[in-house]
Amino acid sequence: MKPPLLSIKGLTKVYPGVVANSDVSFDIGEGEVHALLGENGAGKSTLVKAIYGLIVPNEGVMEWRGVPYAPGAPSEARATGVAMVFQHFSLFDAMDVAENVALGMDNPPPIRELAAKITDVSHNYGLPLDPSRMVGDLSAGERQRVEIIRCLLQNPQLLIMDEPTSVLTPQEVEILFRTLRQLRGEGKSILYISHKLEEIRSLCENATVLRHGKVVGRADPRQESARSLAEMMVGQSLHTPSRPAAQPGKLLLEVQDLSVTSPSAFGTSLRKVSLAVRAGEVLGIGGVAGNGQDELLGALSGELRTTPESIRVAGEPVGALGPNARRALGLLCAPEERLGHAAAPDMSLTENALLTGAYRENLVRSGFIGWSKARDFAEKIILRFDVRTPGAHVAARALSGGNLQKFVIGREIMQRPSVLVVNQPTWGVDASAAAAIRQALLDLAQAGAAVVVISQDLDELMEVADNFAALNGGQLSAPRPVNGLTMDQIGLMLGGAEGGETDAAA
């Protein structure tokens, strides 16, 4: 029998204090699309880094077509025929597409020849791309094309894709899958990493499931249900957040024709955004990253100022107020970036609790901090939101992503907001913590608050939101009730084609 393309045997990688991979073994055949499934922190990324030569495993061997394979650097892996599309793109914003592609190759041809090749390959695989465009100006989907084309130009035998669809619209996912199937048709193998189960079921013929660095299962995803795969991944049965029907109350947050210029060179300015959220309502705002999400959160939190009338909280104009004044009125926000924006990485949880809770929780008296009160507040958050940490004195940086996210969201919820705005509340958070956060948001709405959830995860929005609106190029579509909305309609809304056209189709 022909040996498999890549065979991994007993691979173990230990970091100080953490076993990232423990005795992992699996095979990838020629022309096979193999899924690597697991929650965040299950060790998927470490494993593919070993295959790509970015880290050297402590134990275990790999074989490439029966020959020992131990890459010491990515260039060796590329020479063997392994190419990788990273989850966080390894691109350079201030350089053009051709230069970015050249940087990912070991012996790139002169830029002009390369540009012609890029145009060529990108058309062959249905991924149109202009080689002279600046990467900073591209959408997330286009950026991913740069990564994929960079790989394809090296004619790889094995293509590794790390969470490729997390930033794509449903239509872009379709295009990507067409490309991947075309590649499989050409006899190339693909190692596909994801935690989106429906995708894996439609694309892959084999799956290896990782949990806490160990292989806990193998399956043919086409024979399994999404639920059974999920339970294999999590190791317990999943709890779906419940949402009792609520009667919308009075108007709490009203945004009228909000236009904000983005402070960042590669950001997206908001253009005439209008929305209204009532008490008890959850408004979900979808959209691919970089379409104005950060700017919208900044404008609502008070980091970016606007005209007073463009934002109203319970009728009160707040557009020109700073974050603390808005907090006083009950408008609280939890931004996307956990470390550095929502929390100060090197400060303790107590100090971080103080940072947004100082005024609403009366933690500061005539300029002096009430440390014991602040500690009590932090401990209450930790207890109520099941934050796994040795105590409130621990630095925010030391917490895992999911635990810190629970803390950051919990900190705002504990301050009894009348309006809460969250951006990517469960980004990079494991499934059970994500469920807990979503449940907390629903409970908050149930208790009479208006909640705005900005997220790229459409499944999440479908689960928690009453109404859905799409943010595209800094413009917000008209909100529509989630009930009865199909994925196709959402895709069109995300693409900016909402309105008459979709109404006619529906």
């Binding site: 030569g53 260039s75 390894s90 201030a94 350089m95 790139p108």
Partner: protein, 310 residues
Amino acid sequence: MDLSSLNIVVLLASLMVAATPILMAAIGELVVEKAGVLNLGVEGMMITGAVSGFAIAVSTGNPLIGMVAAVIAGAALALIFAILTQGLMANQVASGLSLTLFGLGLSALVGQGFVGVVPPRTPKLDFGPLSDIPVLGQIFFRHDMLVYVSLLMVLAVWYFLTRTRAGRILRAVGENHHSAHALGYRVKRVRVLAILFGGGCAGLGGAYLSLVRVPQWTEGMTAGAGWIALAIVVFASWRPGRALLGAYLFGGIMVLQLNLQAAGFSIPVEYLSMSPYLVTILVLVIMSSNRARITLAAPGSLGQSFHAAG
């Protein structure tokens, strides 16, 4: 006041000489910053180069050996910065500032025996008939070798950064060190090499100051030239051609104000002395008033320490 004593040809010729040390330091720092490192120690490396170049040139009697020594001394000081910031992950701003202070002190100590000494003359290049062209010959073709070396350096750095693969890798490291690392480039190695190059350039610029432009040794003789070089890099939006422009602007105003002083221009000398700095900073502010453009041009990872994650 006697403005007739200002000779525009002489002015332009000495402009090139006055701008050369700053241009050298700036072009070196430009490469360093393109690699994503902010080295605020330019002033310290310059003056270390000035004193070492001077000392070696005087003791060997050969200004060229002095220049080589200055390059080595500048690079040696830069190596300390490289070890601190790339090896020990120290803060770049603090390390650069202390490098400047260290360089100023060290040079004062080394230079104690050399105050008032006259260095060997650096020969002018002989361009034959070219030097005799009226006006142009006097402006462009009656300088020493290093003026032309500095211009070649601008050209070489431009070519390196925009046309070569190594230059592209260097820019990539400065633009996004995580991406560069993920693609398998040695971020730290690239940065250390860039820092050493920057140190060498600053050292050479310093030696030009003490051996050709002045020429003698006085304590603290760089008088902020290193800081101006740093400002010029930003003002030039990290482009070699514009750095040349910036350095010549500063040099030009420097020469002009010296001549105005000599001509007995009737405003206080202090105002004239501060004018080159003032004008350069003013131009810098105006040029960088468009924030979006500056953030576009600035290397994305400038000034950040790189930890390889996982």
